[in-house]
């Protein structure tokens, strides 16, 4: 089996890896290497060459994102690195494993990232419920400071970095990077229009990079082992490994590190153990609650950004939610839309007032009160809310993805609700 760097310190009992254990297993070697003689530009080059793409959902090339941070002629002041550990996407629980099992890996990655972009302050913005992870991170930061991996003049390099853990107040929208920044500033967690991008005007109006936990955890390995090695980890076009997860009526729900390009079938069957007896696979959201359904025919596709995109969905966070054939797809989608409606920040009209409207229509359909025109309303809302750019941020288009693909693949189920005036799945139980 190929190498799995991200989870190499994850123990079967999920107990945290402390500093000693982390170092003993080769930890902080990437940092030592960089501090001993790599310039920020060198580090950037390596990360760019590695083809690492963001693991927070959008898959933006990390090196390219970093390269937009102004390095020369910047007006005096701070630059910031923010680790996005908000992880509230429905069905997503991958960052949690990295946070709880190997906090130093993240910290090392953040120091390297901050060094590369010239940031002097770093924040870990962590989901409110991740109390254990927040505690472990605070402890790990204290340990790292003692060893001079953090703080003033890191390892004698002349580079200094302060790192703080900030617990979110608990809204999904805080995971959207610009809303996260607003929230960190103590304001309403409303997303911001781009441009200007955070790379030039982010936290407190200063250059800022926001990266996902998993993205940052890759950095120490890339710096230590080089881009070619990283590229070789992937099975296909995409470099590195990825944490994949499965939830739903499978035998062994969970989260595993596997090479990029692993097929969906391998993940579902080999790792998740296939469907629970008596349940069939109806469809699945490949990358979390805000990605489009894929179905049986897609099972042999490799989990790769382009491939999944071409199939009509998104890699998203790489954590699948499985819809079985005994669960009502209308109710399934309604549940998600209700979540997103509830989590809308309330800034822009289509999302704030459109999502609850869709939830209401889906509720009527599910309860047997639907009309044929309701399907038109849903279709209309898909083009109204579902396109990037129609709304102020990507929450609403994401929210519409499961609905839009459910109408494509499971339209018959919607029709049966309307025709029969009741939910056909209720009798099945």
């Amino acid at each position: 089996m190929s190498e799995l760097p991200l989870t190499r310190n994850v123990r079967p009992d999920r107990s945290p890896t402390d500093l000693a254990a982390y170092e003993a297993n080769g930890g902080y070697q990437g940092l030592r290497r960089a501090m001993a003689g790599m310039s920020p530009a060198d580090c950037l080059e390596v990360v760019k060459d590695s083809n690492l793409r963001g693991r927070g959902g959008a898959g933006f090339p990390t090196g390219m994102k970093w390269s937009f941070v102004p390095m020369e002629n910047v007006s005096p002041g701070h630059k910031y690195l923010i680790c996005n550990a908000d992880e509230m996407e429905p069905g997503t629980f991958k960052d949690r494993m990295l946070l709880e099992c190997d906090p130093h890996q993240l910290i090392e990655g953040m120091i390297l990232a901050a060094y590369t972009i010239g940031a002097d302050v770093a924040y870990i913005f962590i989901r409110a419920e991740y109390l254990k992870a927040a505690r472990l991170l605070r402890e790990a930061i204290a340990e790292a400071k003692i060893r001079n991996y953090l703080g003033h003049d890191i390892l004698g390099s002349g580079y200094s970095l302060a790192m703080h853990v900030h617990a979110s107040a608990g809204r999904y929208i805080c995971g959207e990077e610009t809303a996260l920044i607003s929230s960190l500033e103590g304001k309403r967690a409303n997303p911001r229009a781009k441009p200007p991008f955070p790379q030039v005007s982010g936290l407190w109006g200063r250059p800022t990079i926001v990266n996902n936990v998993e993205t940052l955890c890759n950095i120490p390995h890339i710096i230590e082992r080089g881009p070619e090695w990283f590229a070789s980890l992937g099975r296909g076009d995409d470099a590195g490994t990825k944490l994949f997860g499965v939830s739903g009526r499978v035998n062994n729900p969970g989260c595993w590190e596997m090479p990029m390009g692993t097929t969906i079938r391998e993940i579902l069957e080999d790792k998740a153990g296939g469907m629970v007896a008596g349940y069939g696979l109806k469809g699945f959201l490949p990358g979390g609650g805000s990605t489009d359904f894929l179905v049986e025919e897609h099972l042999d596709l490799p989990m790769e950004y382009e491939t999944i995109g071409k199939a009509g969905s998104r890699m998203g966070t790489g954590t699948m939610i499985v819809l079985d054939d005994k669960t009502c797809p209308v109710g399934f989608v309604k549940n998600l839309i209700e979540f997103f409606a509830q989590e809308s920040c309330g800034f822009c009209t289509p999302c704030r007032d459109g999502l609850p409207w869709n939830a209401q229509v889906l509720d009527d359909i599910e309860e047997g009160r639907g009309t044929p025109e309701d399907l038109d309303t849903l279709e209309q809302h898909i083009s109204y809310i579902g396109a990037i750019g129609n709304t102020h941020c990507a929450l609403a288009p994401g929210a519409m993805e499961p609905l839009q693909s459910a109408l494509k693949y499971f339209r018959e189920d919607f029709q049966r609700h309307i025709d029969g005036g009741a939910c056909p799945y209720r009798e099945a139980h």
Binding site: S75, S344, W357, A387
Partner: protein, 906 residues
């Protein structure tokens, strides 16, 4: 200039704008909610969506928000196609999901931007079947009514209240489709600009409380261009009248002055004209001292009896129009005419005028004040003495943000982006005042000094800028900030009562000009025509205190309560000295009570008048409606007085414009006043300009209890406006004659853009008053001696006036709702001084006979005492006097009301 294609047609548009502004400027109707011409874009409502194509080959295009899209050369947009208009329809439909559809009982109805936009998008049928949610409304004080169910969540209110006006107690609360715009708990909105919410909110969430209770639709309001008479800034207003009552005051756009916003004193203070204490008929005191109403004839006779062959003296008024003052001055002779300001204030205004005219620094308009990149404010708690100017300073300190934005090439309308970029980096504002001020929150430095020390500091700053002195204290910091700027502004005023301070301000501005800066110098003025009175009396004038030593037999008092200007003893002495007093005023007061003959004046909403603001800008106000009962404009009474006195020089004056024509002669001041607005002969397309919108209803019904025949409309021979709905109401009529704003499909005040030649810029019909000081010569002021530094005394306290937006001004304090906000007159003490005196907050203290409520304020300079100036209780107190402070016996402490009680009480 870039050329863009909209719906297949090429248009040339202004560089650097956004598509929404450009479309509106081109006359294309594109619906919007969250964008505001003065506040820029945030992209929240998604109402202004259009389709943009990458190039001619692009057939798919994508939806973009016009307000967030810069216009670039060659850009291609589809505004009216099915995709764009369908999207906009759905936006309105989703905004309306929870809307209560209570238009018939909504005070916004008929001028509601939501109604207009709903019609404009073509949305008609409701598809949503769910229930509507219902909010609990809040009590927000006596001025503003709250009805949250009508909210469409456009965020305009909080953007205005917090971002633009610096308020903190109104916020967007909660999230998703429960966002709530209100306060954390019920209570009076704290911002002095809260009233603008009524106009900023595109629906009926925030409405004018007095209008809600005394209701009229916009289309049934008669209105005329007017000028706020509640302070010296001279904001342009649109009072609206029906049934002879002033129903409300709205902002009247003037690009050089108030732009889109008023302060709450101006917006709500005007309803004093509806007060019970209005004088209706001329009256004469009978042998028992009671007033007896006079018929027209009896009045004319009484005037003749009292005036013919008599030696006259006159007291004018800084709150009366220039024309009435001028007539009085001519009638009694300039040497027998007092400006009507208190003597010390008169001297300060003369000094301010001399500095403004003679300074090489620029005397800025309010709009220009917003362009200052460093500000020194000397001796004024500006939010309370010239509130709208304080709002302008809140914009000036954002010039640093705009500078930072330019570096990132962010357009000025990218409001959220610029605020996020700049955060709290501001252009420097230094505030020097006797206590804390309501601009301290944005000040780079604030310095609490009594007036004498303010003047000394100003003098030091000037010396440092001239290079004659050095220091490393406050003066040096302030000087450095002013010198680092390109357009520094020095702003002071008569509020601190110090001549040396005005000299210091002028000296600083002069030194800045010498240092190569495009420096600006501005002074506030207390009342709407204080500057006009300074100008009128620039050559000749008699002090109020000197009137008692003249041989005048008749004293004519124009719109002035002398008890606000002179100590009681002096008023009594004057009364004893001059046998006949004739008073002209609109509301009862203690001066009228001492007059032998009282003439009822038309209020500011009932008369034509020119007011000259602190900048020296002459602006014309027109009567909104004819005065009722026997009330007449003061200028008409004065013509009657002249006739009665046998004065021939004024006999050629028939109507208002004749005053200027007859009396101006070679005087550039009077010529300027006369040309402040188009005269009565002006016609638009050959017609007069209506004061009533074309949908004005009930002309017959309104007085059907009297007669069922439609009455003839009152003729207005004095102006180009008509008390009628007939006439020509084009969008290019002169700004000075903008009686209401309306355009087909645009029933709300958002129709204003149809009247502008550039969004947020000049009016198509031009005309924003006339600046007078640029062309006048006035002798330079002799420097005032620099006062001794302040040192406290053992048993005495130095009085320092504190101005209150609600309360310090004579008439606005009587506006409906405002009475509840003026509070008790108070004395402000440093806590240590108070404890020395054995006083606590809420106790009573007696100062010079007046019992005042004690307030503790750590920002009060120890050894000094602030007092609420302009309150009936404090008229005897003067800034700069030393007084004893005693504990008031039998003082009733104010009971503390909680918000909900107040709500129930209102």
């Amino acid at each position: 200039m870039p050329v863009i294609k909209v719906d297949g047609k090429d248009y040339e548009v202004a560089e650097g704008g956004n598509l929404l502004e450009s479309c509106l400027g081109l006359g294309l109707d594109l619906p919007y909610f969250c964008w505001h011409p003065a506040m820029g874009s945030i992209g929240a409502c998604r109402q202004c969506a259009v389709v943009q194509y990458q190039n001619e080959e692009d057939t798919r295009g994508r939806i973009v928000m016009a307000c967030m899209t810069p216009v670039t050369d060659g850009a291609i947009f589809d505004l009216s196609g099915e995709r764009a208009s369908g999207f906009r329809q759905t936006v309105v439909e989703s905004l309306m999901v929870d809307h209560p559809h209570d238009c018939p009982v909504c005070a916004e109805g008929g001028e509601c931007h939501l109604q207009d936009m709903t019609v404009m998008t073509g949305h008609r049928d409701r598809h949503y079947r769910g229930t509507k949610k219902t909010y609990r409304n809040q009590y927000l004080g006596p001025l503003i009514h709250h009805e949250m169910n009508r909210c469409i969540t456009c965020y305009r209110c909080t953007r205005f209240y917090r971002d633009y006006a610096g308020g903190t107690d109104l916020a967007a609360l909660a999230a998703h489709d429960h966002v709530y715009f209100g306060r954390h708990r019920e209570g009076t909105l704290e911002s002095p600009f809260a009233g603008n919410l009524v106009e900023v909110c595109p629906t009926g969430v925030f409405t004018d409380k007095s209008l809600v209770h005394d209701y009229t639709r916009k289309w049934d309001l008669q209105s005329a261009p007017s000028v706020c008479t509640s302070c010296g800034v001279g904001c342009n207003t649109l009072p609206g009248e029906r049934y002879g009552r002033l129903k409300r005051i709205h902002n009247r756009y003037n690009p050089a002055v108030n732009g889109y916003f008023l302060c709450d004193r101006g917006r709500f203070g005007g309803t004093h004209v509806n007060a019970e204490s209005r004088i209706d008929f001329p009256a004469q005191r009978d042998s028992e001292g009671r007033f007896q109403a006079l018929t027209d004839e009896a009045c004319a006779r009484a005037l003749r009896d009292r005036l013919q062959g008599k030696r006259l003296a006159g007291i004018g008024s800084p709150r009366a129009g220039a024309e009435a003052n001028l007539l009085l001055q001519r009638l009694v002779g300039a040497e027998n005419y007092a400006s009507g300001m208190a003597d010390d204030e008169h001297a300060l205004m003369q000094r301010a005028l001399a500095h403004l005219v003679n300074s090489t620094a620029h005397n800025p308009s309010l709009r220009e004040i917003e362009s200052a990149d460093a500000v020194l404010l000397l001796g004024e708690d500006l939010t309370h003495t010239a509130a709208r100017t304080a709002l302008a300073l809140r914009q000036a300190v954002r010039n640093e943000a705009h500078r930072l934005a330019e570096e990132l090439r962010l357009a000025p309308w990218q409001d959220a982006a610029i605020r996020n970029l700049a955060q709290d980096r501001r252009s420097p504002l230094h505030v020097v005042c006797a206590g804390s001020t309501d601009l301290d929150d944005i000040a780079a430095g604030h310095y609490r000094l009594v007036a004498a020390d303010q003047a000394r500091l100003a003098s030091d700053i000037a010396a440092i800028i001239r290079g004659e002195a050095r220091s490393d204290g406050a003066a040096a910091r302030i000087a450095a900030d002013l010198l680092a700027a390109e357009r520094p502004l020095v702003l002071s005023g008569p509020g601190a009562g110090s001549a040396a301070l005005l000299d210091g301000a002028a000296a600083i501005a002069e030194a800045l000009v010498a240092a190569g800066k495009a420096a600006m110098l501005s002074f506030t003025a207390a009342e709407c025509n204080s500057m006009g009175q300074a100008l009128l009396c620039r050559d000749s004038h008699i002090a109020l205190a000197a009137l008692a030593s003249t041989d005048a037999e008749v004293l004519i008092i124009l719109e002035n309560d002398l008890l606000r200007r002179l100590p009681m003893a002096s008023v009594e002495a004057l009364r004893a000295r001059i046998p006949t007093w004739i008073g002209i005023d609109c509301l009862e007061n203690d001066t009228l009570a001492r007059c032998d003959l009282v003439l009822p004046a038309a209020a500011f909403t009932e008369t034509e008048a020119t007011y000259i603001n602190q900048e020296g800008r002459a602006q014309r106000a027109f009567p909104t409606h004819p005065p009722a009962e026997a009330r007449r404009p003061a200028w008409r009474w004065l013509l009657d007085l002249a006739r009665a006195a046998g004065d021939r020089t004024l006999s050629g004056i028939g109507h208002f414009d004749d005053i200027g024509v007859t009396l101006a002669g070679e005087d550039p001041l009077l010529q300027g006043i006369a040309s402040a607005a188009p005269d009565h002969s002006f016609r638009s397309r050959g017609l007069k300009i209506p004061r009533q919108p074309h949908r004005y209803s009930g002309r017959t019904a309104m007085r059907a209890d009297v007669s069922v025949h439609e009455p003839r409309q009152t003729d207005d021979a004095d102006s180009a406006l008509a008390f009628s709905m007939e006439g020509s109401a084009t969008t290019d009529r002169p700004g000075a004659l903008l009686s209401y704003v309306w355009s087909p499909g645009w029933n709300s005040n958002q129709s204003l853009h149809k009247f502008q030649s550039e969004i947020g810029g000049a009016l198509r019909g031009e005309g924003s008053g006339l600046r007078l000081l640029d062309s006048l010569a006035v002798a330079a002021a002799t420097p005032a001696p620099l006062p001794e530094a302040f040192s406290r005394r053992e048993q005495e306290w130095l009085l320092q006036a504190r101005h209150h937006l609600f309360g310090s001004d004579e008439l606005s304090r009587l506006g409906s709702g405002i009475e509840a906000l003026t509070g008790r007159a108070a004395i402000y003490l440093h806590p240590e001084d108070a404890s020395r005196l054995g006083l606590e907050a809420g106790d009573g203290a007696v100062i010079a006979g007046a019992a005042l409520e004690v307030r503790l304020d750590p920002s009060q300079v120890p050894g000094s005492a602030g007092f609420s100036t302009g309150y009936p209780e404090t008229l005897a107190l003067r800034s700069g006097e030393w007084v004893n402070i005693d504990v008031a016996s039998d003082w009733q402490r104010q009971p503390e009301l909680i918000g909900s009680d107040r709500g129930a009480a209102s």
